[in-house]
Every structure is written in C-alpha cells, then in structure tokens.
C-alpha cells in the first residue's frame, strides 16, 4: 500500500514522517513485542480510530488493551467492538493506572483533551490526540510542554499530514510546478444543522451540553476547532510557515437555535512574503463543498479534490501557427484538423490528478505511522509542531472573530 509513497524527495523535507513507511520499526509477532493501546472516547471519531487500529492489529502486532468512555452507550459499544477483550473503563485515570499500556488514542470532546493528554504523557504513555489540541491557548502549551518534558510522543489528528494526495502536491509545489505561491483559499461549506444528537431536549439542556458539546463555547469553538483546524494546518504546511496574523469575523445567521458557536465565519491569515490565506465556513449552503486551493503564478492545486491545473498549458503547434497567422495577417493553410486528440493520462475539466492513490485511508496511514514511531520511541518533531501551530492559530482565529482585531502570536506561545 505504501509503495506509492516511497522515493519522493519531499520525504526528507516537507514530510519527513513519511520515511517511516520505507524504514518501519521491526515488529516481532510475540506478545512481548505487542504495542498495547488504550482508546479514550469512543464516539463517532473514536469509533473510526478504533476500527482503523483493529485493521493494523495483525500486521503491526497492535492490541487494543483498554477502552474508556463516560457515556454508557459508547462504553457498551466499545466493549462490543473489541469483543470484550479490551478492559473497559468509565474513568481514563483508572484505565491508565490499572492497565499496562504503551500508548493512548484520545477522541473525546475538545475541552477534555488537555488534562487527559497531560496525564497520559506524564504517566509515561505516548499519545495520539484528535484535533484540535485544546479549548484554550495555555492548555495547548501545557500539552506541548508535557510532551517535551516527558519525552513521550504527542501526535495530533490532522490526518492530511499522511495523505498521499498531499504528498504529491507538496512535491509539485516544491518543484515549482505551479510557480511561486501567491495566495491560498479554502472553505468548508455544508448544509446541515450539525446536530449530532437530536434527543437531548434541545439547546441549553445539560444533556445537550454533554452530547452536542460542539455547540457550546465552554467546550468548543465550533467549526473553527472542529473543521477549520484541519485546513489551517494545511496552510501552514504548504507555506512552510505559521501566519504572522489573523483577522476575521463570524456570526449566527441561520441556525439560531440557541447554539453558542458561529454557523458561518470568514478569516484572512497573513503569512510571510505577503501571502494571504482566506478561509470561510458556512453550514447553510453546500454548493461549494470543501476545498483548499493553492494558487501559484503558473498553476493551481486543489488539494481536497486531488487536482492540479496548469495556468498556461502548451497549445498544440497547429493552434500556435493559426494564432500567428492571424497576428501576421497571413491566411495560410494550417494542418489543424484530423483524428480526435486524446490525453495520455486521465484528465478532468482541464485539470490532472495529483495522485492516483486518492482513495487511500489517511487515518489508517497516520495510525500506522504512530505505531511505528512508538516502536522507535520517537516521532519527527515537525509532526508534533504542525499540530501545535494549527491548534494555536485556530484559537487565535477565534479571538480575531470575537474581538474584531488583527491578532498576532503572543510570545508565550512561541516554541
């Protein structure tokens, strides 16, 4: 599966973590070589992560040794999914005290990430935590510091970091195929009330705050942390830098049902070299779907649709001759007609596919990387830093929308 990823030059620069697939850690098949993982939070995302880990269990000798969820349904579901083989807990502290683990995967509501991650790292465990990292800036920094102080791995679930399409795109960008980058544009547009659970008694009830936590300011920054952070990470990564500042605005203009988080927002990030990244999110119109465009002087890359477009593709010689004949006012016989021209490879609306491997499961690849890093005892620092910067700038973007100010990175959070 990972053969397609091997041998590209960006492995050593933009995506050093990919080299783990060319040089995986030796995995013995005995019980003593087994990587033992606990899963904290088995909601919608946690379930996906758990299922992906199970796919790796034989090939990488991984065991889901423990599961944890405070919600009874999910607690029971976790037991079922692991066929009772994993020890089940309601409290993650008991889990990490009682079960011998190498690592945890955390997929709980955003406001729970920080203390769980810090506790696990300090308990000597490696951590894969879903994005975004935390609800508040100082918590993000605490997580990062705990990772540095403990020496344990901390990875954040921006799975595009392990997407083959992005790998191909980064290679193209670095090779200069689209020329100098002059702008980034991104958006995530959906038409949905975004209600995960509708049997909670409505907005504002205790149950709703617990289940539909994404709607409440105490627990989440809404689409900023839950959706946008993916693309903020991508922008940092493509530009090889974090922003200089962010400006923005947000509001609730359609789903005014008592939720506390925006149903639409628009942001402008300023980057070094005078490059801007404009990003917007809306939940009341899905026409535009989801996209990140990298605009260069010679081409455009559409990361989410696996496409690149040349700005000025070469014309066939006969067309060039015809244009020349018009400019020189010479009406000549030009051999311009004949059998149908067909492209050498697949093509779509003037663009070309970045990677033929676009159906690959990047979550699975990321977890595969995580397990290998655990065996080696360390992960590339750049990978953790990507997660850190994306999380910090997500929260700074929130601040920008709330204050109406241009927001810069406070010194305390420079790493």
């Amino acid at each position: 599966m990972t053969a397609a990823l091997a041998g590209t030059s960006v492995l050593t620069t933009s995506m050093p973590w990919f080299s783990i697939f060319n040089n995986p850690a030796a995995a013995g098949s005995g019980p003593s070589d087994r990587v033992r993982v606990g899963v904290i939070g088995v909601g919608s995302r946690g379930r996906t992560l758990l299922l992906n880990l199970q796919e790796l269990s034989e090939s990488l000798n991984v065991e889901i040794a423990a599961v944890c969820d405070t919600w009874e349904d999910h607690y029971q579901r976790a037991i079922e999914l692991t066929e009772g083989k994993a020890e089940a807990f309601y409290d993650y502290r008991e889990m990490i005290d009682q079960v011998e683990l190498d690592a945890v995967v955390i997929a709980t509501p955003l406001h729970e990430h920080a203390h769980q991650t810090v506790d696990c790292l300090n308990a000597g465990l490696h951590v894969f935590c879903e994005k975004a990292m935390a609800r508040h800036l100082d918590e993000v920094k605490d997580m990062y510091d705990a990772h540095k102080d403990s020496g344990n791995i901390l990875l954040v679930g921006h799975q595009r970091l392990f997407n083959p399409v992005y790998l191909q795109a980064m290679e193209k960008i670095e090779r200069g195929d689209i020329g100098p980058i002059t702008m980034l544009r991104g958006w995530w547009h959906r038409n949905t009330a975004w209600v995960f659970y509708d049997d909670t008694g409505g907005r504002g009830t205790d149950l709703d705050r617990l289940r539909n936590w994404r709607f409440y300011d105490d627990y989440s920054a809404g689409m900023l942390t839950e959706l946008g952070s993916h693309h903020f990470q991508v922008a940092n990564w493509v530009l090889g830098n974090q922003p200089i500042s962010v400006m923005g605005s947000g509001s609730i203009n359609h789903f005014d049902d008592g939720r506390e988080v925006y149903d639409n927002f628009a942001l402008v990030f300023k980057y070094p070299k005078d490059i801007h990244f404009s990003y917007d999110c809306i939940t009341s119109n899905r026409h535009n779907g989801m996209q990140v465009q990298v605009l260069g002087n010679d081409g455009t890359i559409e990361l989410e649709s696996n496409m690149w477009f040349e700005e000025f593709p070469d014309d066939p010689p006969s067309i060039e001759d015809l244009i020349l004949s018009m400019m020189e006012q010479e009406n000549e016989d030009i051999p311009i007609g004949g059998a149908t021209w067909i492209p050498d490879g697949p093509i779509r609306l003037g663009g070309k596919y970045l990677s033929p491997e676009y159906t690959m499961n990047d979550t699975l690849l990321y977890l595969e990387g995580f397990i290998n890093f655990i065996r080696k005892g360390e992960a590339p620092q750049k990978l953790t830093d990507e997660g850190y910067h994306a999380s910090i700038w997500t929260l700074l973007a929130e601040e920008a929308t709330k204050t109406g100010q241009e927001v810069f990175l406070p010194e305390d959070y420079i790493i």
Binding site: N331, D333, I334, G337, A339, T340, W341, D344, I347
Partner: protein
C-alpha cells in the same frame, strides 16, 4: 469528452473574452453532463438504465437530440447508428472473427436504432431490447459546437475559430486576414503537412477515424468504429472528414461515412448544399485521399465560382 478545446476570437477585448469564454465553458460542461454515458445521472445514462423496462420521458432538448440521431440514421441508411456500443465492447479485446459465436449473434440481434421507439406525442423513448445502449460519442462534440456557435453569434462575434479535439472544428466568418479559413487536414504519416484543405466561411469540418492521436504521435486504432452491416470493427486505418455548415450535421455524417458505401455518400451529398467529403486511407503507408464531389452541379456553387 476526454479531449481538449480551443477557442480563438481575434480582436476581442479582455472583458468580453473572459465573459464569453465563461459562457462557452459552462455550456460545453452542461452538454457533457447531459450526453456523457460516463456521468451516472446524465440523460443518456438514465435512458440507458431505464428505457429497456419503461418509456422514459425526455426533456425537449434531449428528445430533439434522439430525434436528430434517428433522422441521420435514416438518411444514411443505418450507417449512423448510436446503438453499437455493445459491439464495440465485444470487439475490444478480440481479433478472431467467429460469426457463429452465440454471444455475437445475440448482441447483433439486440442492437440497432430501429429498436429505439420514439413517441413524439408523449416525448418518451423506449428500447425494444435489453441489450441496447445509446452512445452519443459520434454526436456530442458537433452538438456542443452548434451550441457554441449560437453563443458566439448572440454575442455578435464576427470571426472565430473553435477546435474541439481537432476532430470537430467550427470557423465563423472569415480569417482575420480576409478570405475563407483554410483548414488543413493533418497527414499523420507526415505530421505538419496537409493532405487536403477545406475552405470554410461560417461552417465546420468534422473528422471521424478509427484511430486516436495523442502527444506521443502514435496512431491507435481504438476499434470503436463498427460497420453496422457486418457488425465488425473497421480494421483499415482510415478517416473521413466532412465539411458542412452545421457542425452537428458534419459530425454525424463523418461518423456515418466511415462505414457508408460511396452510393450512400453521394445520395446524402445530393440532399445538402455545400457538403464536402474526403476519405483518407492510411493502409498503404501513405495517406490516400478520395474526394467526393457533388455529382449534380449546384447552381449556388457555380455562382460562387
């Protein structure tokens, strides 16, 4: 449509050019979404999916398209037949001919434009057999050019050159240097040389061939051209180019004439003014051109001369 599209409008200002190009692109995409059998919810795909079991209601445009195909099938005595796709699939990976193969016989029994029932009152289409499929590959590019022509004429464009993958060309008005557009037919065995030239003034040239060209310069017999009379692919490497005022007529006739007898070609030519046809046979190692001339002198043409 898996090819490239060029549009050249001499002397147009930037803003009008951008707007026109946007309109043309949108229209071509719209047509592709309607006529491509590769797009799951296109009109053609839906028809192919349902019409063997039920009468399918077509919108006005799609109904006219199917009617036009039927008309061309009629005047070319069956040479233009958009139902031959199952035979193309059959011959795709086969070189030996076994006339008695039951599968081949069954396919032949189940295709043919005569098995497409068109009801003008209810504007519905129904297939008489299960194995039938409509493929508008020999129609779509010409149709798109026809629509592009309206857009350009509406915008008062006096002169323009449009090439759809080189095989479907529309030339509006005159060449900016004056006179008809001199549209050369590329000689694939001597690339860059014209085998023949058409003088076009507000008209089109369409080429059908049983090979494609790509940037590597090689000719590939795609075995897409089936002779409906014998139900087998045309093996001789050849092409037909038709010049006509209407791009969609040129497209359909070039598709048909690749498998038509000379008699049928002459018969059709005598029904239309300003129709020019050439056949090019590459089999001998050089492109041999046969020009078909309208047998009965056309008074219009004589006046022009």
């Amino acid at each position: 449509m898996n090819t490239r599209f060029h549009i050249i409008i001499p002397g147009i200002d930037d803003e009008s050019g951008d707007r026109l190009f946007g309109a043309v692109k949108q229209e071509v995409n719209r047509i592709e979404n309607k006529l491509s059998r590769f797009i799951p919810d296109s009109d053609v795909a839906m028809l192919n999916k349902k019409a063997a079991n039920e009468s399918v209601r077509a919108d006005d445009e799609f109904f006219e398209i199917i009617n036009a195909c039927r008309f061309c099938w009629d005047i070319t005595e069956g040479a233009f037949d958009p139902t031959l796709r199952p035979l193309m699939e059959y011959w795709k990976n086969r070189s030996e001919v076994d006339e008695a193969d039951e599968k081949l016989i069954s396919i032949k029994d189940n295709i043919g434009m005569e098995k497409v029932q068109i009801d003008s009152e209810s504007k519905t289409i129904k297939f008489d057999s299960d194995g039938l499929e409509i493929d508008l590959g020999g129609f779509g590019k010409g149709y798109a050019l026809e629509k592009v022509k309206y857009i350009l004429e509406d915008a008062s464009v006096k002169s323009a050159f449009i090439s759809f993958g080189e095989s479907s060309i529309l030339a509006l008005g005159e060449h900016p240097a004056g006179g008809s557009w001199k549209i050369g037919m590329n000689d694939y065995l001597n690339p860059g040389q014209s085998l023949h030239r058409f003088y076009v003034n507000g008209g089109s040239v369409s080429t059908s061939s049983n090979f494609f060209v790509s940037d590597n310069g090689r000719l590939k017999n795609h075995r897409h051209v089936i002779d409906p009379k014998i139900g087998q692919p045309v093996e001789r490497c050849c092409s037909v180019s038709v010049s006509a005022e209407s791009p969609v007529l040129a497209e359909m006739l070039s598709t048909a004439f690749l498998v038509s007898s000379d008699e049928v070609i002459y018969e059709v030519m005598n029904q239309y003014d300003h129709l020019e046809v050439i056949k090019v046979d590459y089999e001998s190692g050089q492109g041999i051109v046969t020009e078909f001339e309208q047998k009965e002198a056309d008074p219009m043409v004589q006046e022009d001369n």
